[in-house]
């Protein structure tokens, strides 16, 4: 038995650099497999709605907006970022990004619509 077994470790920490990250100042690198905000590519979607069926929280809705044209409404407040929809999609129309800064003061802004007309999959901000 020896008292103060950790004292060396404690003293060493005085000169060590902090173990924490300066988060907002230094941006963190997300891991390779990270599952962040979803992106929808309307031109690839065939409207099979497998993603809607498999979503554990019902966060994704696919609407038909025209002949072979679909739009996705993703509720980021409901989404649990499991990326099961990305696995389920046969045409790879859904993709995860590394975007994590999704906090909003207005709950309506969490609903993101990916318009069917856009060919690039860029979100259309108007709900």
């Amino acid at each position: 038995m020896r008292p103060g077994k950790m004292i060396k470790e404690v003293l060493r920490s005085i000169i060590k650099k902090p173990a924490t990250n300066l988060y907002p100042a230094e941006e963190l690198a997300m891991p390779h497999n990270f599952r962040g905000k979803l992106i929808f590519h309307p031109e690839k979607c065939v409207g099979c709605k497998l993603c809607m069926k498999d979503c554990p929280t019902g966060a994704i809705t696919i609407n038909k907006v025209g002949e072979k044209q679909f739009q996705a409404v993703i509720d980021l407040g409901k989404c649990i970022y499991c990326a099961q929809c990305v696995d389920s999609c046969l045409k790879k129309a859904l993709e995860t990004t590394k975007n994590v800064e999704l906090a909003q003061l207005d709950a309506n802004k969490l609903k993101v619509t990916f318009s069917g007309e856009s060919k690039t999959g860029i979100e259309n901000k108007t709900p």
Binding site: M1, R2, P3, G4, K5, M6, E9, V10, A19, P31, H32, N33, F34, R35, K53, D54, C55, P56, I80, Y81, C82, A83, Q84, D87, S88
Partner: protein, 414 residues
């Protein structure tokens, strides 16, 4: 109503209490500083997960089951997936089994390091908490590297795993494990030499070998009482059958023994991870399984960091399970706590409860209320139960009639 006993003093601890991290209630009967009796009441955090599982498909259930516990999320999802795979008679690829084992062991490392910190905090040794949790970041980063997330890894799917592990990732894991092994050796040194730890934990929360067997303790709680029981060893699942490791037991029977078992288990986990990465075969990681699971039932066991986890799944041939039953390890260990605290001091309560590494929210499954003295069970309808509660409150002098009428009018106006 309980008759007040003159020499005993009853104090409630919880459901909201600074010493407890989760809502659970203890009614402690005290005589001076000594605990004469302990009543445990769970059920403050019932989430209806089992029922919710029945209303979702197997694929949706994967993510729900993973959220039973925040710390042993991989344990619960693997246990569930194993049961479903047994019903569907799927042969899971070898590589997937090794990846499951690897994640399971990394999870055990993070859980045990977390426990070490919590135990340090409960005995007022916050330096240990800070250092153990700093080192835990290494394994959290490794988990994030492989699975993408720090918790709720989303690694399992029916028939295999969702993500493969690359050579670079394997090397990163080995590097991280080497650092952690050095740190763990240091913690073993501290646990066996530091006077404060030994004096505070020795002889606290004693449960004898016979009692541990009788009360069906599981996991490190049982192993610290010399019960040589580990599902990984006794009933190998995933890739554990091809891996050699020791089951750590201890004969201290107290919280000190449980600390030793956990830190020594960390060393075994590093060995298992190394063997996993060495022996992992090439090949596919997923077998396609139809969405409809054939009729059948299965029970699956898994050695979670806290002890044996049991899942029961019954399938009726559709896309949704008919019944899912989860037995979290804390439910098996909570009875032992009552025994450990008898005739002990009140000040030992936080560390003794923390020593089983409790996870009360995982344990809360369903609550059945019984009349004391009358063992006949009766099922009450929702309406009858509501009327009963209104009457009960009226007797206490609280009248909800006006409030209910207001609510009714409000609903009608809509």
């Amino acid at each position: 109503m309980h008759k007040p006993e003159p020499d005993k003093f009853k104090i409630p601890v919880g459901p909201q209490h600074p010493a407890l991290k989760e809502p659970e209630g203890f009614s402690v009967a005290l005589k001076g500083e000594k605990i004469m009796g302990l009543e445990i009441r769970l059920g403050y955090n019932h989430r209806g997960i089992e029922k919710a599982c029945e209303e979702r498909t197997y694929i949706q259930d994967l993510y729900l089951i993973e959220r039973v516990c925040g710390i042993c999320s991989h344990s619960h999802s693997t246990c569930f997936v194993q049961a479903v795979e047994e019903i569907a008679a799927v042969e899971v690829p070898k590589r997937a089994l090794y990846i499951r084992t690897l994640i399971g062991e990394l999870e055990r490392v993070h859980s045990h390091l977390l426990w070490l910190g919590v135990a340090g905090h409960e005995i007022g040794f916050d330096t240990l908490l800070m250092y153990a949790w700093r080192d835990r970041e290494i394994v959290m980063d490794l988990l994030a590297l492989i699975t993408g997330n720090r918790v709720n890894y989303g690694m399992n799917t029916i028939g295999g795993v969702r993500r493969d592990i690359s050579k670079e990732q394997a090397e990163e894991v080995l590097k991280g494990i080497n650092i952690l092994e050095e740190r763990t050796k240091y913690y073993i040194e501290i646990a066996t030499q530091e006077t404060t730890i030994i004096k505070r934990l020795s002889g606290v929360g004693i449960i004898s070998h016979e009692d541990a067997l009788k009360l069906d303790a599981v996991g490190p709680t049982a192993r610290a009482s010399g019960v040589n029981r580990d599902v990984r060893y006794n009933d190998p699942y995933a890739a554990y059958g091809e891996i050699t490791f020791n089951v750590i037991t201890d004969t201290h029977n107290d919280v000190y023994g449980r600390t030793l078992v956990r830190v020594k288990e960390l060393m075994e986990s590093y060995q298992i991870i190394r063997q996993c990465l060495k022996k992992i075969p090439d090949g596919p990681i997923l077998t396609k399984v139809p969405r409809k699971i054939p009729i059948g039932e299965a029970t699956s066991r898994y050695e979670a960091p806290r002890g044996e986890d049991v899942h029961y799944v019954k399938s009726n041939g559709s896309e949704k399970p008919e019944r899912v039953k989860i037995r979290a390890p804390t439910l098996a260990n909570i009875q032992a706590v009552k025994h450990m605290l008898k005739d002990r001091f009140l000040a030992d309560m936080p560390i003794v409860i923390a020593a089983i590494d409790p996870c009360f929210s995982c344990t809360d499954r369903s609550v059945s209320l019984e009349n004391p003295g009358d063992r006949n069970k009766e099922i009450m309808t929702w309406h009858a139960l509501r009327t009963y509660s209104i009457e009960w409150y009226k007797k206490q002098g609280i009248d909800f009639t006006e409030l209910n009428n207001n609510l009714k009018n409000k609903l009608e106006r809509r």
